[in-house]
């Protein structure tokens, strides 16, 4: 069963990987030509217009975009977090529910396999694809940044781990939500919604101290990119919370799915 799951989900995985790789490839190819003394001067002037809180929210106060790596740490990494988050959300929302939507579950559930094993197989494939997307993107970025110039290897490796801390809980949350649904039709919307709400909450919490508490309500806090850039370390508590949320929602998925009416 697991082999089939890999095959079924391969196409969407390749599409998401291509989107990410192409996006970075374009930037890596044109960025060196964009960064001249003159454009940097203009850019520095432009940055002064922005309130410091906005610069903080996008980590532009602690990293300069005068190099490709600088761009990667700020703007580029925001895209990585958003796109990997979206992939994990949509995958989580559809991987289990697809069988019901396609009505193939009536066949699958009549086979001598426990429902929990169906869930396990799907979760394993989901996690592997999320990790694989991250690993392949890491390899691509590592090679590209090595060619492009200097970068802090340790910081880069730690940064590349952080999307996993948000992607796994997002995968699990969306898997859990999908056990309440019958069709995959709404799952893309729900997946997008969850990612953007979490992301907006994360940005807001960094813009002003008045709503700093919002960071407790968003998965994106777990990426903790600012801390990684400043301290060149990952806070182990974030890893534990990420794993904790993932495990809780996966347990919830098993419990719900074992009671679900499948047709």
């Amino acid at each position: 069963m697991i082999k089939r799951e890999f095959k079924v989900n391969l196409k969407s995985f390749l599409i998401w990987l291509t989107i990410l790789v192409l996006m970075f490839l374009v930037v890596y190819l044109i960025y060196p030509y964009m960064i001249t003394d003159e454009t940097m001067k203009e850019f520095d002037e432009m940055m002064k217009i922005f309130p410091p809180e906005v610069l903080t929210a996008f980590n532009m106060d602690i990293a300069s975009i005068s190099t490709v790596y600088g761009w990667f740490k700020t703007e580029g990494f925001t895209y990585v977090l958003l796109i990997i988050g979206l992939y994990a959300s949509i995958l989580g929302g559809s991987i289990l529910l697809k069988e019901e939507d396609d009505q193939t579950i009536e066949y699958l559930d009549s086979l001598p396999i426990k429902r929990s094993n169906i869930v396990t197989n799907k979760i394993i494939v989901g996690i592997i694809y999320v990790l694989l997307l991250n690993i392949l993107l890491f390899i691509f970025n590592y090679i590209s940044l090595t060619i492009s110039g200097d970068f802090n290897q340790k910081e880069f490796i730690l940064l590349s781990i952080t999307p996993i801390l948000i992607a796994l809980p997002l995968l699990a949350i969306n898997l859990f939500i999908s056990t309440f649904l019958r069709k995959t039709k709404g799952t893309i919307g729900i997946g997008l919604g969850i990612v953007f709400i979490f992301y907006v909450l994360s940005v807001l919490s960094e813009i002003t101290s008045k709503v700093e508490f919002l960071k407790y309500f968003t998965i994106y806090t777990l990426a903790d990119v600012r801390n990684v850039i400043m301290d060149v370390s990952i806070n182990p508590i974030m890893i534990l919370i990420s794993l904790g949320i993932t495990i809780i929602f996966i347990i919830g998925t098993y419990l719900r799915y074992n009671k679900k009416e499948l047709v």
């Binding site: 069963m1 193939t104 009536e106 066949y107 559930d109 396999i113 426990k114 499948l262």
Partner: protein
Amino acid sequence: MSKSIIELKHLKKYYDTSRGIEDVSLKIDKGDIYGFIGPNGSGKSTTIRTIMTLINKTSGEIYINGKELEFDDVKVKRSIGYLPSEINLYDDMTTKELLDYHESFYKEDLSKRRKELVKLLKVDENKKVGALSLGNQKKVGLVLALMHEPEILILDEPTSGLDPIMQNTLHDILLKEKEKGTTILYSSHVLNEVSNICDKVGFIKDGIIIKEDLMENIKKENYTYLKIISNEIDKIKKDLKLKVHKELNNEIVFINTLTPKELITKLKDYNIEHLLIEEVPLEDLFINYYK
């Protein structure tokens, strides 16, 4: 006493407030073919899906092989071959890939039986499942249901989409399965279809079993059709006091419960142009149950 392989006791299923099945009780003995008959929406598929634990029963009991059915019991699943009424298989696979996939869930070597069934049902293994017609998909579904040689076969409207030749082939296969001791639950909305192979039939209406009997007894229902053509129809109607099945001008068809002797006595003084006594077709019996 023969052993019940499937037994349902007051099975009830409600979807929120809407009725799926109200009260289904039935017993299927080992090696029997049980015709589960009812029109669309009567609760046949709901009953079957409850047995398959695809949906949760509201109340009642299900026994398989004398043991109360537990949710998601793999051992029970292994003993059942199931063909749903609407077949939805993995469209992206070729039939061969699907059969291989199916085989991978069983420890036993299913290749011999698979080959036999593929040949008997004339299944093209090289085509993608999604490219097959409904009838051919049904044939693939039948191979899947039968290839692990299950003790119990649950077939929900198995012949829909099959041509008459293939229907006969299927019935031959089922009779051979019966000889081997396989217990079969065969759901259909056509009584004629199951009359030649079923040992017992249960009629379901609005989620309730309204009649259950041996097929031979159903066939011997103690009434016939009595067709009379006469210019004294009104008088005959009053005198015979029989239920009218159909009436047109001076021609009438009664539901006859009288013996031939009683009929001759009662009709001897009438001017009758034509008289015919005939057996009630099974489908008319079926319709009568659902009136």
